[in-house]
């Protein structure tokens, strides 16, 4: 632990905001803010799980770190890799080598290239590819197949292989497990854990809170483009009372193994966010205070963005 304090975090994102430029009517353009004042930090040896609603900006964060946001977007705030500011030049140098991405969609595979060759990429070797396939229960013949010949779960394992074959210091895994059966999903998680224990950092973006709980160290909860809570994994395991933000508690209630009861309503759109706390319209503890600026504050070993959290 003491060593962690001395070294800068592998990835530190401070006050990140991302805007998209969109056409409104005719030639008028408007700025759509999709991520606002987001903060996260991942240290060496840590796995940070990022959970939250669909469309809350989890994938955008991953793309921002790698510098692969679409052209009509802009960002403010700071992103640091091992203490160094991530400039477009540095991002280009690091991605694929020191920072690796497991993309969200199996559509990221090249449909015209045999998957073995895709996994080897520019920096890998055939031997590494065979080892990693064996690890993920992919038969050696799989390397000779094209993406359309694979099932959803097999394609997913190929995607994970492309990232873990590198000696990346930071792995960003964007939903690596949908469509995988529990055994393979757990094997994938064990692999990430080993990578982290070897002194690397992993950012795991997922909807599968269970899986996140089994290996992550910290959990960051996203809602409508911002972090609402950062909690040690232990708090999730101990139950709802230990959690801080009302949205996190709602997530807990909606899990199939808990009550499976959803709260009503939808996450507000990026263009029509309420002022102040974005969760306020769906929150039972809402008061007039909530429409003002709500800052992230420290609480019980975690952080929360809520005026009423105790």
């Amino acid at each position: 632990m003491s060593q962690k304090k001395e070294k800068p975090p592998v990835l530190e994102v401070t006050d990140l905001s991302i805007c998209f430029r969109m056409y409104d009517r005719g030639l008028n353009q408007k700025e759509l803010k999709v991520i606002s004042s987001l903060n996260i930090a991942i240290h060496a040896g840590e796995i940070l799980a990022v959970v939250g609603s669909s469309g809350s900006g989890k994938s955008l964060l991953a793309h921002a770190v790698l510098g692969i946001l679409p052209h009509n977007s802009s960002y403010s705030g700071s992103m640091k890799y091992c203490g160094q500011e991530l400039t477009p030049h540095l991002q280009k140098k690091l991605r694929g080598k020191e920072i690796a991405l497991v993309p969200q969609s199996v559509g990221y595979l090249d449909p015209m290239m045999r998957v073995g060759k895709q996994v080897i990429g520019i920096h890998g070797t055939e031997r590494q590819q065979q080892e990693v396939f064996q690890r993920f229960n992919l038969s050696p013949e799989t390397a000779q197949k094209y993406p359309f010949q694979l099932s959803g779960g097999m394609a997913r394992r190929v995607l994970v292989s492309t990232a873990v074959i590198t000696d990346a210091h930071l792995i960003i895994a964007d939903e690596p497990t949908p469509g995988l059966n529990p055994e393979v999903a757990e094997e994938t998680m064990r692999y990430f854990r080993e990578i982290a224990d070897a002194g690397n950092a992993v950012m795991l973006i997922t909807h599968d809170i269970d899986l996140a709980l089994s290996i992550a160290d910290k959990i960051a909860v996203f809602y409508a483009g911002t972090t609402v809570e950062i909690a040690p994994v232990q708090d999730f395991l101990e139950g709802k009372e230990r959690l801080r933000h009302p949205y996190t508690k709602a997530l807990w209630d909606a899990l199939p193994q808990n009550d499976f009861v959803p709260i009503s309503g939808l996450q507000p759109y990026a263009g029509s966010l309420p002022s102040g706390c974005p969760f306020a319209p769906r929150c039972q503890y809402r008061t007039d205070d909530c429409s003002g600026e709500v800052e992230m504050r420290k609480m019980r070993g975690g952080e929360v963005r809520c005026k009423h959290a105790t």
């Binding site: 609603s53 959803g152 469509g179 909807h207 997530l251």
Partner: protein, 205 residues
Amino acid sequence: MLLEVKNVSFGYSYKEPILKNVSFSVDKGERVGLVGPSGYGKSTLSKLLAGYLVPTEGEILFEEKPLPTTGYCPIQLIYQHPEKAVNIRWKMRQILEESWTPDDAFLQKIGIEKQWLDRWPNELSGGEMQRFCIARILGPKTKFLLADEISTMLDVITQAQIWQLVLSIVKERDMGMIVVTHSEALAQKVCTRIIDLPTLNAAGR
């Protein structure tokens, strides 16, 4: 019996059949969970049952009759990826009304806002689009639902919302249902019975 699968075999090539001699049946009001590792033919079986693929051997009977080859199929499939199940050059209204025209009360119940009808598919999130995909197949002629991992890419709150909705309609109309999922907790919550596809498949070999 509502749905009967009799000795069905299927393979994408002659050399390696994925499904070999699979038989089972599902009655009204039953919700059967179909589980198994990836690559064992769960999605293939779903496509066979919905009539998108034809078995190489064996037959699939719905209400004692083979599946219709033209017109509306009473067995409807909800796909894993809603973005791949809609025509991206159609607006949501056309996508929804290709199948049937739900009234306002239905749309409200399923959580579709009227302004979404005039949007293109790329202007909706996955959860919103999945609501359309579910609404579209819940027309009066549908008697059996196949849910192929319909909620894996959704956050848990949206997942719970969508399942409450599907379950309420399936129970109300006494439909049969097959649920493909990898989540044991989810299967325990929504299914009345669970079938392990690898066991079923091996038994037929």
